[in-house]
Amino acid sequence: MIVGEQKPLEEIWEMIKIHKQVLVFGCNTCVAVCQQGGNKEAEVLASMLRMKATQEGVDIEITNSGIERQCEHEFFEKSEKEIQGSEAILSTACGIGVQFMAEKYAKPIYPGLNTTFLGAVEQFGVYTERCQACGNCVLGQTGGICPIARCAKRVMNGPCGGSTKGKCEISKDVDCAWQLIVDRLKLLGRMDDYETLTPIKDWSTDRAGGPRKLVREDLADE
């Protein structure tokens, strides 16, 4: 799922303090899982901002609400009136939700989160990056571990010379993706695959090729 991290309170405050009324708007899917921008978090954030406003002596009405997902039109229906009645929105969704709202509403929509990565919940409270959405998945060749998302240099024929005791040269807290791949290939009895050269990647399906789009002709209306 998409992981984000709430922006520092000071930064958020600086963005919204110019308004007289702000709606703090949560998204209850991905960013609720990592406990950063869900409807509950939006409620708490609104409360903190009210306390901040009081102490700063700033006259601002801060309300809060939220929907299931901010990346699909239908979920906005029930909050339409509330949104239209607000001066500005502080969205605690990921960058997608913020942009989607900006496209829908002729109002200032501020990001309450820094969207960081696509990842998994390794354990409750620990979220780590797993996918870079490169558009051309190589997981079949690497035993199910992605060298693009998990290698700091996205080496396709790794490991590089900096791999030390299973950790990446950039930090002891980062696993060497290629150590993981080698371990996995060993586990699956496919160590011979290690010497197969991975062909040069076609990055045109990645961000490099431009903003991406998928259309299901059979599903999309005119």
Partner: protein
């Protein structure tokens, strides 16, 4: 909670969670007394001062 409060300039000692059953009357009284004293020593919170300032400004 204790992590969030300092971000808005409030001493985290102002909030505490106690677990009690309805039968623990004396302990309840004890906690109330102790905590009230603690808060009394800490004095009014920044929010209290801010609200006071706002009221005075309006006056």
């Amino acid at each position: 909670m204790k992590n969030l409060l300092p971000k808005v300039g409030i001493n985290p000692e102002r909030i505490e969670m106690f677990n009690l059953s309805a039968a623990m009357g004396p302990r309840w009284a004890e906690i109330c007394t102790e905590f009230t004293e603690k808060i009394r020593v800490l004095g009014p919170s920044p929010i209290w001062f801010a609200l006071k300032a706002r009221k005075e400004k309006a006056a």
